[in-house]
């Protein structure tokens, strides 16, 4: 390999005395993709920001150079030239990264005006070319639209177009596909791959090992501000040397059979088939229509029927806007269906007065994606659980039982959820859902906001609780790997309809609907083969 384009040696960044990046060294050559992998707080984003001179004043390094130019000695004026001109940046959420009031074409035009000498007519042509290059359909029309008028995938493409407009030699992509649906993610990853092939150096920052495997040549695993392991991507993933890398890879649920705990390698009895009991929760032809202003009514859920058996897990997959959450709300009795019926334990649960529904609500629990917003901000963990358990002589004993079941120390009782970690919050949410001894728990993206290792802990916990209490789960997720790991049966939802439903293993092995096939094909997988 010739002289690397980007060279970083012993980079250190600290915030008010605390080291965020603690001696990191790596380099990236032109046409190469290096992935920085790590969980939240590992220092990967701070590393990327220091390459753009955006990490504050406490950046030190033995060497920080781009194409031979010393980035440690750059004046503020020169930084403006480097950002966008030499180094492009693509962030996670294009909606907040693009100016909501300006057409996306103008955003791209900005980059050209600042970093090139093109005249306005030439720039207009170049904008269309760029949009075309990132695979934007109808670039002429789209250039005039604002960020809010574009879908998530198109927004991300517009952002990439503006990042590469001035032809930067290095593109930094910070979680570029995290907020995107599987099929859109596949398109954006392909686009990044093409850019790399055309000679751009790519620094990819991600927590998702499957994404990293798809795009990157080399990978550096970060933890607590240090790189613990680095090397060729395949080599590191197949033959991890560091304990932390192994834990990260073990935490990825895709391909791990149902019932096998992700983290504790202890004996798992996969053969012990859970006896799926009688149907506990059922939807019969339910539909829900939302009236919309200035648009045709939205058919959020369209004639959906499904059955959930006691002690089993039904995985519900679909992309954003497919109606998964509305269906969950119908099943929980938070929304009334416009037609069809929801049955709980063979008795109607929809279209009955709230008075007669309320006592039966205790059979249903719910766990949400964002546990923090589901807790009263004024209450401590103890009050939250007490509220769910109900006052009484037994209350304290029951709370202790619940904490024990979800593996939390009793010290958390006095704290507020705001001061707990993401994993602890989700455990509190699960404890609360368990409090009324429900038969069914509806889990709406329960692990989507968690780091992989924490996600693995929560998934293991849910599985354990299912065996212990014979719970039935409706498990909603956009992550196919997670759904495959936890589900007995799977329902695939698209545009308000269930397009396919069946045994999890069958759906994954031989999907019958065209959409399911596309969904499976576009989701990057981390099947490293079983050892």
């Amino acid at each position: 390999m010739s002289e690397p384009l980007l060279s970083v040696e012993d980079l250190r960044v600290s915030f008010s005395g605390v080291a965020a990046v603690d001696g990191v060294s790596f380099d990236v050559a032109a046409g190469e993709c290096l992935a920085l992998v790590g969980e939240s707080g590992s220092g990967k984003s701070v590393t990327a920001r220091s390459l753009l001179g955006l990490a504050g004043s406490s950046v030190t390094a033995q060497r920080l150079s781009l194409g031979g130019r010393d980035l440690l000695r750059v004046s503020p004026r020169d930084w403006r030239e480097i950002r966008g001109g030499e180094i492009g940046l693509v962030l996670q959420d294009a909606l907040v990264s693009l100016d909501p009031l300006r057409p996306v074409g103008r955003e791209i035009d900005d980059a050209l005006r600042l970093h090139t000498t093109l005249k306005s007519g030439q720039r207009r042509e170049r904008v269309i070319e760029l949009l075309h290059a990132v695979g934007m359909p109808e670039p002429e029309t789209r250039a005039g639209q604002r960020a809010g008028e574009l879908s998530g995938g198109l927004r991300q493409r517009a952002l990439i177009a503006s990042a590469i407009a001035a032809g930067p030699r290095l593109l930094i992509a910070d979680e570029p596909t995290t907020a995107l649906d599987a099929t859109v993610q596949a398109q954006v990853l392909q686009l990044l791959g093409e850019l790399r092939s055309s000679g751009t150096a790519l620094l990819l920052i991600s927590h998702d090992l499957a994404v990293v495997r798809e795009v990157s040549d080399r990978v550096a695993v970060m933890r607590a501000g240090r790189i613990v392991e680095s090397g060729a991507t395949e080599e590191v993933l197949r033959n991890p040397q560091h304990e932390y890398t192994r834990e990260l890879i073990r935490s990825v649920p895709s391909g791990v059979p149902r019932g096998v705990p992700l983290l504790s390698p202890a004996s798992a009895s996969t053969d012990e088939r859970r006896t799926a009991g009688a149907v506990i929760l059922e939807a019969r032809g339910v539909s829900k229509v939302f009236p919309r202003r200035h648009a045709a009514p939205l058919l959020a859920v369209d004639d959906v029927s499904l059955r959930l058996a006691r002690g089993s897990t039904l995985g519900l997959v679909g992309e954003s806007g497919s109606g998964k959450t509305t269906l969950a709300r119908l099943l929980l009795g938070l929304e009334e269906p416009d037609s069809g019926t929801v049955l709980l334990d063979d008795e109607p649960f929809s279209d009955v007065p709230e008075r007669s529904r309320r006592p039966r609500r205790r059979m249903l629990g719910a766990v949400y994606q964002d546990p923090l917003s589901s807790f009263d901000p004024r209450h401590s963990v103890r009050r939250i659980l007490l509220d769910a358990v109900g006052k009484g002589a037994e209350a304290d004993r029951r709370i202790a039982e619940l904490l024990d079941a979800v593996g939390l120390p009793s010290a958390v009782l006095l704290r507020r959820p705001l001061h707990l970690s993401g994993g602890q919050r989700q455990r509190v949410a699960i404890a609360r859902a368990l409090a009324p001894r429900p038969a069914v728990i509806v889990c709406d993206e329960p692990v989507s906001a968690l780091d992989v290792s924490v996600q693995a802990q929560v998934l293991d916990l849910l599985d354990e609780l299912q065996r212990e209490f014979g719970l039935a789960y409706l498990f909603i997720s956009h992550d196919l790997g997670v759904v495959q790991h936890v589900s007995d049966r799977i329902a695939v939802m698209r545009a308000g309809r269930i397009v396919e439903e069946g045994e999890a293993s069958e759906v994954f092995a031989s999907p019958s609907h065209e959409y399911t096939r596309r969904l499976l094909a576009s989701s990057p997988r981390l099947d490293l083969g079983t050892e």
Partner: protein, 289 residues
């Protein structure tokens, strides 16, 4: 300089760390001291000014501020300082009572609008909007015109005119809290509506409203004083700040202290309570995260 320590001086991220439990600022300390002084004057005026606020002494009329009469004397020779101190109780009482009346009325309207059916909500909101469109002082004047002047009417009038503003905030707060995920979580647990309202919605919705009310007390005092100044509230010789302003107005060229001193008392009270209310507001907001 070759040391790498000079690295990256190009940009400096400002760390405006906001700490909810931070030490009080000078402004906050001064506000608290002023309010403590006013409360002391209201509760035990004799401690600060042992004289008689109504005792006349025509021989001492129109004396400029001196050691004996720090704020001077008025047209009947009464000590202005003594009168200002004794007026604190009345002003503070009017301010607190008016705020309490406004807040109480607003609670009823706001909660009713948010909890009772759509028709009730529609009706209360429309009435509220009409009242909101009128200036508060005008509303108070109309009320006094109908019921007649006096201290009690002034208090009620000021209270009434602040109610629409509070009611509107309470209604929006309740609606916002009711739409939040933790209320849904409580519904899923099978809790009854009154229980959810009492345990979750009201405490979360009303906390910011009470903070806002501390700001309102200062304003209510100013309004009540304005009404007294117009001769609609407390009537001379009662030692009320607004009434004293009115009494001193004809002599403003001769004896400026008769108007300036009670005026300063009004300004200090309103400024101190507003400043304190604002900083409470800021601190609780930071505490939320």
């Amino acid at each position: 300089m070759t040391a790498p320590e000079t690295a990256g001086t190009g940009l400096r991220t400002a760390h405006l760390a906001s700490r909810p439990g931070a030490r009080p600022t000078v402004g906050e300390i001064i506000s608290v001291l002023i309010l403590l002084l006013i409360v002391l004057a209201a509760v035990a005026p004799r401690l600060l000014a042992p004289g008689d606020p109504l005792g006349i002494s025509p021989a001492d009329a129109f004396q400029a501020p001196s050691w004996q009469h720090p704020f001077g004397t008025d047209e009947s020779g009464r000590d202005v300082y003594t009168r200002v101190v004794h007026g604190a109780g009345e002003s503070l009482l009017i301010g607190l009572a008016a705020t309490a009346i406004g807040l109480g009325l607003a609670l009823v309207i706001g909660i009713l609008g948010a909890v009772a059916g759509r028709a009730v909500d529609f009706a209360t909101t429309r009435i509220n909007e009409v009242l909101f469109a009128l200036p508060g002082l005008l509303l108070a004047l109309v009320f006094i015109a109908i019921v007649g002047p006096g201290v009690a009417t002034t208090t009620v009038a000021v209270g009434l005119s602040t109610a629409p503003g509070y009611a509107r905030i309470i209604r929006t707060q309740i609606r916002a809290v009711r739409g939040s995920a933790y209320i849904e979580a409580a519904v899923v647990l099978g809790h009854s509506s009154p229980r959810i309202l009492g345990r979750h919605i009201l405490p979360n919705a009303l906390a910011p409203v009470f903070v806002l009310a501390t700001l309102g007390v200062g304003q209510a005092i100013v309004w009540a004083s304005s009404l007294s100044f117009l001769g609609l509230g407390a009537v001379p010789p009662a030692p009320e700040w607004g009434a004293m302003l009115a009494a001193g107005r004809p002599y403003i060229e001769l004896a400026w202290w008769m108007t300036v001193c009670p005026g300063l008392a009004i300004v200090a009270t309103a400024a101190a309570s507003t400043a304190l209310g604002r900083s409470i507001q800021a601190r609780t907001r930071q505490g939320d995260g």
